[in-house]
Amino acid sequence: MPEITREQVAHLARLSRLALDESELDAMASQLGVILGAVAQISEVTDAADVPPTTHAVPVENVTRPDVVVPSLDRDEVLAGAPAAEDGRFRVPRILDAE
């Protein structure tokens, strides 16, 4: 059964930008261990066989459209749904860390 440590969960939480608290990290580590243990059985059928992967149910490729200008969403309507807007743009917190 695959082990998943609390430190691994904390690392994955950082990668996925989730500020999990201590109790969430504990709960998640044990639940993920159980789930990964249950899904590991797929290697029973895939290890031996030389099987190509399927990424999409219906294979389609190179879907193109004419390169013409079409109306885009109304800027004010879009910004009205944003948590913060300023001067007709999305307002974001500072993007560089203090140090």
Partner: protein, 513 residues
């Protein structure tokens, strides 16, 4: 046209409703008001809706009435019929939350293609239905806004993730609803509420404007009380859309014609050996076996078919879907829409993003994001995500081989009847097993339907029909024939056996129809 005693407009099928409106027996506004009153009376107990758009619905209904009065304008086959939309489809000017706090209060600036097509077809959008957050769940208990209750027993789950859409239809709050099905979210709710639910062929219905969960599996489809109603809605919402690059550029299969044909004579039906036995309740298995015997009486040829890799569908799904979800949900970054937490002038964008996502996502969504991030991370990708995609190939081969000897496959739609609220909330694996029978079709991409075939312990049981890709019409042939034969035996619909719901207030009187 016959209307039920007392002229209760909420008890009509969608097909009958459209006829009543087109012939002038009732106006679209009267029909809409009747459903809004029904929602006001019972939705406090059921909680199928997250938002009811009363003003918008009345305005749409008035437009239909004007078109009916003006005989020069032709109206569609479902003009004036009330519709409930799962809250995962964006609606311009009407709140869309996907069942999450992170989108609370967001008003989308555009319509999903499904939304705009159904508006154009004259359907009256009365509201948005409850769901597990971002469609992750099998009970609606993972909605950030509280669970929906099963109209058959308010202490039980309505299925999920589209429990709100199924419950709205079962509780006569709307004759039609739209759901989405990534691993069974239309069919399992249909199964446990005694309604009809269809997952069309992947690519058959546009995903444009559908808040993405697992893009290679997500598919919107119809929820209804009859097979014909489901077909009418299927036809109205399906078809090629240039705004979705995975949309299939081919004619919509003749689903309405097939539902009316309702004939299984000469059809070869395969019972999937692996979707039975352990994990399936005895009462479910009994109703299923009776329905299969009935199909044989109706002239179908029934045989048992083995799909050996179906046993691996559930574990493969719980790697593929969370992987795609972890990527899709990266868009909830506290910048463009929804919630923002911790923007105090000191925190950086990255800190605000992490705090916002921690506050805005519920436990099941966090679990799947972490699981998906793990399955996609370097060193584990080949062992997990890569292997799961190989299983997908093996399952597709099982379907392809089966369809060389039979026309459709059947199984129970859900391993059990509706369970009590809270029963599986602390055991993610037990919850995931609800989708045992429905997931194979999502991985393969083919269409599948659940329709009611009886009761076990007083609760509905659903039968699933699975067909080859772009043969959605076969579902309706089987569904239509089975429904007609069962209703002959029951002397009416299964839903007519459901207990009366408690009403909060008596609805306003309506003009006689």
């Amino acid at each position: 046209m016959s209307t039920p005693p007392g002229g209760d407009l909420t008890r009509l099928t969608a097909a009958e409703t459209a006829e009543v409106i087109a012939s002038g027996q009732a106006s679209a506004v009267e029909v809409t008001r009747a459903h809004l009153d029904r929602i006001a009376a019972v939705d406090g107990a059921v909680h199928a809706f997250l938002h009811v758009d009363e003003a918008g619905a009345i305005a749409q209904a008035e437009a239909v009435d004007a078109a009916v009065a003006d005989r020069a304008t032709t109206t569609g086959a479902l003009a004036g019929v009330p519709l409930a939309l799962k809250d995962v489809l964006v609606t311009r000017g009407v709140p869309t939350t996907a069942g999450s706090r992170i989108l609370e209060g967001w008003i989308p600036p555009y319509d999903a293609t499904v939304t705009s097509r159904l508006r154009a077809a004259g359907l009256v959008m009365i509201g948005k239905t409850n769901m597990d957050e971002f469609a992750m769940g099998s009970s609606t208990e993972h909605s950030a806004y509280g669970p929906t209750h099963n109209p058959w027993d308010l202490g039980r789950i309505p299925g999920g993730s589209g429990g709100g859409s199924a419950a709205a239809v079962a509780a006569f709050e709307a004759p039609l609803a739209v759901g989405t099905d990534t691993g069974g979210s239309i069919r399992q709710p249909a199964s446990v509420t005694g309604t009809v639910g269809v997952k069309p062929t992947y690519g058959g219905v546009s995903r444009y404007g559908l808040v993405a969960f697992s893009s290679s599996l997500d598919q919107a489809g119809p929820c209804a009380r009859t097979v014909l109603d489901a077909a009418l809605l299927h036809e109205a919402m399906a078809g090629h859309d240039p705004l979705d690059s995975t949309s299939i550029d081919a004619p919509v299969p003749p689903v309405v014609e097939a539902a009316r044909q309702a004939d299984v004579r000469g059809l070869r039906i395969g019972v999937v050996r692996e979707l039975a036995g352990e994990g399936y309740e005895q009462g479910v298995q009994e109703r299923f076996d009776e329905a299969v015997a009935l199909l044989q009486e109706l002239g179908a040829t029934v045989s048992e078919v083995s799909c050996p890799h179906f046993a691996y569908a559930l574990p493969a799904y719980y790697l593929i879907a969370p992987s795609e979800a972890s990527s899709n949900l990266a868009r909830f970054d506290s910048v463009r829409y929804g919630l923002r937490v911790g923007d105090d002038g000191g925190n950086s964008l990255e800190q605000v993003m992490s705090l916002t996502r921690a506050a805005g996502f519920g436990p099941e969504v966090k679990r799947r994001i972490i699981l998906g991030t793990f399955a996609l991370s370097s060193g584990y990708y080949d062992a997990y995500y890569g292997q799961a995609q190989k299983v997908r190939t093996l399952i597709t081969r099982d379907f392809t081989a089966a369809f060389e000897t039979v026309d459709v496959l059947v199984s129970p739609a859900s391993p059990g009847v509706a369970f009590p609220l809270g029963a599986k909330l602390d055991d993610p694996l037990a919850m995931y097993r609800q989708d045992l029978a429905t997931i194979p079709s999502n991985l393969y991409g083919g269409p599948a339907m659940s329709l009611p075939v009886g009761l076990s312990e007083g609760l509905p049981v659903g039968l699933q029909v699975m067909a080859p890709t772009m043969r959605d019409d076969l579902l309706y042939r089987v569904g239509g024939a089975l429904e007609a034969a069962l209703q002959d035996r029951w002397g009416g619909t299964l839903l007519s056996l459901a207990p009366e719901l408690p009403t909060r207030q008596s609805p306003a009187p309506h003009p006689e129809v």
